[in-house]
Symmetry: C2
Subunit: 400 residues, 2 copies
């Protein structure tokens, strides 16, 4: 029953302030002491107001609290939105006696609608005293940051650095694209290890690149995406100050946690009926492998074939071919796997496969597609989902 | 990140069939082999159709699958509902090749509305092949059984019986009384230990009595309440056949899990702003202690005082006094505690208390109230919540 509340020196709460009609819409995270902090933000050119503020605050490398509202993205809201985000920070600052620049703010929800600042600020003032490390607070926070997600995403890992037990927990929300551009990915990771902020920032960037940045539901990039980690040192380990063994283990565990959350997010993609893991191997550079994964996993032809359980593997190779990466088709191997693995292509030549067996395998809710180009050592992994009637229905219905 | 999927030999799924407009509404649980099974059901005189069937099926002590729909309670639905519940079982039986009498069925949602049998049966047929022990299936199931809950309830414990690691996980939903009588408590516990069904039934009954039966949100009893445990022996331990040490440890862990879920359910009570733990001590019999807890925790006067953070402790004693249990008021001690404990009454005499300190303590989101009657050794614990404007608003709005 471990969750983020098992990370020492943190307290949380999730509450309903009225931005959403019924469900929880305010989340609070606070560390007893300023924590080493790192964050990565959306690469979208249009960014929400909270992101503008967070980019400044994270520069200090020390953060003590995060406030999140759901139901309103506070994006494309102009001055009103900027003042609103600052008001959220000010309320947290006053209630918890934390300097403003040590507070992050995040929003997710509808874009372009005025931020209901008063409701949120009143909610912060009412709920600040409720911050707690009791178990339930983890569930409340995980639920409070959701928008169109159909289930909350939580993760927890525990490991040892020397003699010290380290706890690392996280909550995340995924992207449901009910309103165009409304899908936002948020991830908040709490850890009780002591580590230098500079190292944490570098590590987070690398891990996010291989996890959250390798998932796609529909190729959109939100104005509000943000992944932040706070590591407060409450565990009492010797501070990690260089890239030693402790750093490596910390990074491995952070990767494990982020990969878990990334997979959960894709599994909850709008109308998704399958989780697809893409494995691309045998290229000269990792960026090439990533580029091919992005193209294949975003291909509507591939995604609809996967939904239709149609072993139409030609579409996979075709999508790879248009990714802007040069490769020799005659060296390409292709495998599709679930409980068993079936090789489809060997050196560019289709093998005779048992079509019934392949069709059975395609019915699985989790499929791995492996492309091996046999022309280098670089590889990458990524995750996507299929494209279903349901996705179309949902997005068609809500577009107008 | 442990959840029910860590229990060996079980697979799960949660899906959307259209009973609810958007959210998941079908849950499936299946054990690879028939599991030792026990269940307790609502004591309401009016029981839903699924309960009638489960009462028969559980008599065998062996269950291999559970199917749950949310969004419709299948209660007060007469013959149509009974046939519908049987159709759900038949669909699971055919898809998974499991005898009908080894399947349980549960429903939760609106009462008295025709069961949309076709949608549910189509959903079972479509999703049976998706049953999996992958992590995400735990989240899908936990979400699929919810109605007005604001967050899913999950729990997991791990322990050793001799050299064998045992995993026990559970999902539950709580009671939100948006439509009168709609609140239903469901709990499904999966374990991989080998244990005789008769022992399991006795143990479950006792544990539920001290956990789920000791919580109250508003004193209503649903027509659909059900807690079931399946223990499939996949762990490979020597079967528990008598009340030995293994039995005792199993029971302790089951208690821990059920208490956790019970507390989560109360924390998610309609409009609840606080979780209250009631501890009654020093009576001649446990049933007396339970009776007092039920009366006090259901008292509207006590609950509104708790909501108002009003240290109006007279109401607590007054409610205890009308519980039908005889005690000597002049021996009664009363304590209220959160981060600290304050004694209010000693031998029936009010102590001088720091009222500001008491008021501060009453602001906590988790409060314990201890009544010690000093006239015996029996004690009991129970959990309730406060009664807020929000509860009234929700239930007033939806009554008509």
């Amino acid at each position: 029953m471990e969750n983020i509340t098992n990370v020492r020196g943190f307290r949380y709460w999730g509450a309903h302030t009225g931005v959403k009609s019924k469900r929880r819409d305010l989340g609070l995270i606070v560390s007893d002491k300023p924590a080493s902090a790192a964050a990565v933000f959306t690469r979208n050119v249009v960014v929400a107001e909270p992101i503008k503020i967070c980019r400044e605050h994270i520069k200090n490398g020390r953060i003590q609290a995060i406030v999140i509202n759901s139901g309103n993205a506070n994006a494309c809201t102009g001055k009103q939105g900027y003042i609103g985000a600052q008001a959220m920070i000010a309320a947290v600052s006053e209630e918890l006696n934390i300097p403003r620049e040590q507070i992050l703010v995040a929003s997710t929800g509808v874009i372009g609608r005025e931020l209901p600042t008063e409701k949120i600020v009143a909610g912060i003032r009412e709920n600040a005293a409720k911050l707690t490390s009791r178990k339930v607070a983890g569930s409340l926070l995980a639920s409070a940051i959701l928008t169109t997600d159909t289930f909350p995403k939580e993760g927890f890992v525990r490991f040892r650095l020397g003699d010290t037990e380290i706890n690392m927990g996280a909550v995340a929300k995924g992207s449901g694209m009910i309103h165009p551009n409304m899908g936002t990915m948020l991830g908040f990771i709490m850890c009780d290890a002591a580590i230098k902020p500079e190292l944490l920032q570098e590590m987070l960037g690398e891990v996010v690149n291989d996890t959250f940045n390798m998932i796609t539901v529909d190729g959109d990039t939100s104005t509000n995406d943000m992944v932040a980690i706070l590591s407060n040192g409450a565990a009492g380990n010797e501070e990690i100050t260089e890239k030693d063994e402790s750093y490596a283990l910390f990074k491995t565990k952070l990767f494990e946690l982020c990969e878990h959350l990334a997979r959960m997010i894709v599994s909850d993609g709008e109308g998704a009926s399958k989780l697809i893991e893409y494995r691309v191997k045998g290229l000269a550079a990792k960026d090439q492998a990533r580029q091919i994964i992005r193209t294949v996993s975003d291909s509507a032809l591939v995604k609809t074939a996967l939904f239709g359980r149609d072993p139409n593997w030609g579409r996979i190779v075709a999508a790879a071919g248009r990714a802007g990466v040069s490769f020799d088709p005659d060296k390409t191997d292709l495998y599709i796997s679930a409980d068993t693995e079936i090789q489809i292509l060997k050196g560019g030549q289709p093998l005779r496969v048992n079509l019934n067996e392949l069709k059975r395998l395609m019915r699985s809710t989790e499929i791995a597609i492996t492309l091996h180009f046999n022309q280098g050592e670089a590889e990458a992994k990524g995750w996507g989902c299929d494209l279903s009637y349901e996705y179309v229905r949902i997005n068609a219905e809500y577009t107008t």
